[in-house]
């Protein structure tokens, strides 16, 4: 009987659940234009997991990285939800470095 998948699925459920919270809060205070940084951190987390010999740590870094990449694609829709009044809207956002470059890129939404 292999319990690794069972315990990992509970941890992943927590990581995905946490994703809802940070996407909503993160977009409110920082705005959706942080998406390339969030996506990049997710990719680095997954790449880093390849070099971690501990199986638990590797799996958690992988699941967390995937959740970051997914969340980065949710930020744009969350921004619209705030603008149309489904979530509290905060006009003063902490914008990311190179914001004018990022504005020219199409934000992902799956």
């Amino acid at each position: 009987m292999n319990w690794f998948g069972f315990w990992l699925c509970l941890a992943t459920l927590f990581i995905i659940g946490l994703g809802f919270v940070w996407v909503i809060r993160g977009e409110r205070y920082f705005g959706y234009l942080w998406w390339p940084y969030v996506m990049g951190t997710g990719v680095l987390s997954i790449l880093g997991s390849l070099f971690i010999s501990n199986n638990w740590a590797s799996a958690l870094f992988g699941a967390f990285g995937a959740s970051l990449i997914w969340g980065s694609t949710e930020l744009k829709e969350q921004a619209v939800r705030g603008e149309i009044g489904w979530y509290p809207f905060r006009a003063k956002k902490i914008l990311p470095p190179f914001v004018n470059v990022i504005k020219k890129w199409k934000a992902p939404s799956l």
Binding site: N2, F4, G5, L50, A66, A79, A107
Partner: protein, 140 residues
């Protein structure tokens, strides 16, 4: 010096990303087209149980991780069908007038609409009630 690559994290990452992505897209699509929601709900629960059982039975850590994560995302999806229907009732997701269940919701719930509020780019400022009303009217 040799570097050992550990595939477990990548397996967990792929299962998490595709489990969440495919679940997200499938729930929206299936809820939109299906009249009786209990059918996809039961299928998702059965698949979840199957992947859950497989995660215990395999000796491979990567396969156990993939099956475990798919099991939990499918379990989540089984509840998402009802949550998606609630979004339809509140107008937070577009209703499909060609689906009998959605047509009934459109008739019974004043906020329900076939208009997709989220199909736009953020503009940086909130919409006024008058703007929201004209957007909804313009889509009719």
């Amino acid at each position: 010096m040799s570097v050992n690559i550990n595939p477990v994290g990548l397996a967990a990452a792929l299962a998490t990303f595709f489990g969440v992505w495919l679940g997200h897209v499938s729930v929206r699509k299936i809820e939109r087209e299906t009249v009786n929601l209990w059918k996809p709900t039961l299928i998702a629960l059965a698949l979840s149980a199957g992947f859950g059982a497989a995660s215990f039975l395999t000796s491979s850590l990567s396969l156990s991780a993939i099956c475990g994560i798919l099991s939990v995302t499918l379990f989540w999806d089984s509840f998402e069908f009802q949550r998606q229907q609630k979004r339809i009732k509140h107008g937070h997701a577009p209703a499909n007038p060609n689906n009998l269940r959605h047509a009934k919701i459109l008739a019974e719930y004043s906020e329900a609409t076939s208009f997709d509020w989220l199909n736009r780019d953020p503009r940086g400022t909130p919409y006024s009630p008058a703007e929201l009303e004209s957007m909804k009217e313009g889509a009719k």
